[in-house]
Symmetry: C2
Subunit: 153 residues, 2 copies
């Protein structure tokens, strides 16, 4: 009856891209109850993770591991500044560079965030070993997708 029978490769539920895509959105939704009390969105949380690892980074230093450019980061960082978690100041050595530093409130927030990974692990219902193994595979897939994109010279 359906013309689909002949093209199972086009079934939505067979597509790993959609599995990854929808699971990413499910993560954002699952983080929400944990991040709302901290006044953070999920992408803002990712930036805070980087700043908690290493304070005082430029916009492009933050963007490289996140695969984001200033078009996304500039407005996001302005919101983090408005919330009071970061400072944005021009580097006196090179006025092109915007240096992002944590405020005291931004540093203090880390203590409220440390429990989030543990809580999310419970939500996922997986062991640490399972999560690490799956993470390795997913990262490998992401790297393959990105390296191939760069491969067309």
């Amino acid at each position: 009856m359906s013309e689909t029978r002949e093209t199972p490769e086009l079934w939505l539920h067979n597509q790993i891209c959609f599995a990854v895509h929808s699971t990413a959105h499910a993560f954002t939704a699952a983080y929400k109850p944990h991040l709302d009390p901290l006044n953070l969105t999920y992408p803002q949380y990712l930036v805070m993770l980087l700043l908690w690892e290493k304070d005082d980074q430029s916009v492009s230093e933050l963007g490289k591991p996140l695969f984001l450019d200033s078009g996304t980061l500039t407005p996001l960082l302005k919101r983090l500044q408005a919330t009071g978690y970061i400072n944005r100041t021009r580097d006196p050595k090179d006025e092109r560079v915007m240096r992002i530093t944590l405020t005291d409130a931004g540093k203090a927030l880390k203590q409220k965030a440390v429990c989030i990974p543990h809580n999310m692990l419970e939500t996922m219902g997986m062991s640490v070993e399972q999560v690490m193994a799956l993470g390795t595979d997913v990262r490998k897939l992401g790297q393959a997708l990105r390296s191939d994109a760069g491969a067309r010279s």
Copy 2:
């Protein structure tokens, strides 16, 4: 030196959520060269997949498998209509319902899309079996995240 040494659970590159999040974006970018010639964005492609599986669906029928509501779908469907791939008509039986049907151009597009999954498989550099196994695990994770969100009554 870094205060991070004590909190590896907060390292960005340890977070499976970020692995999934960034791989989802890598997918969107990797699809772009395949979808641009078809005048489709990646989310629009997902809607077309559903319509190729089963023509004539309502907005909410399309939204359920995609985990999207009318707030996202209405403008997206208007763009697909503007491109000429779908029709949007009110159901005469129930004027609340918007019925989405493929135009001839929308139906014809399927033939141009059938090769995309195969091409993407090459980009991923994985076997069909590997992709299916990883897809199963990722879908399971997505389901766990969504079911737990609904678990707070």
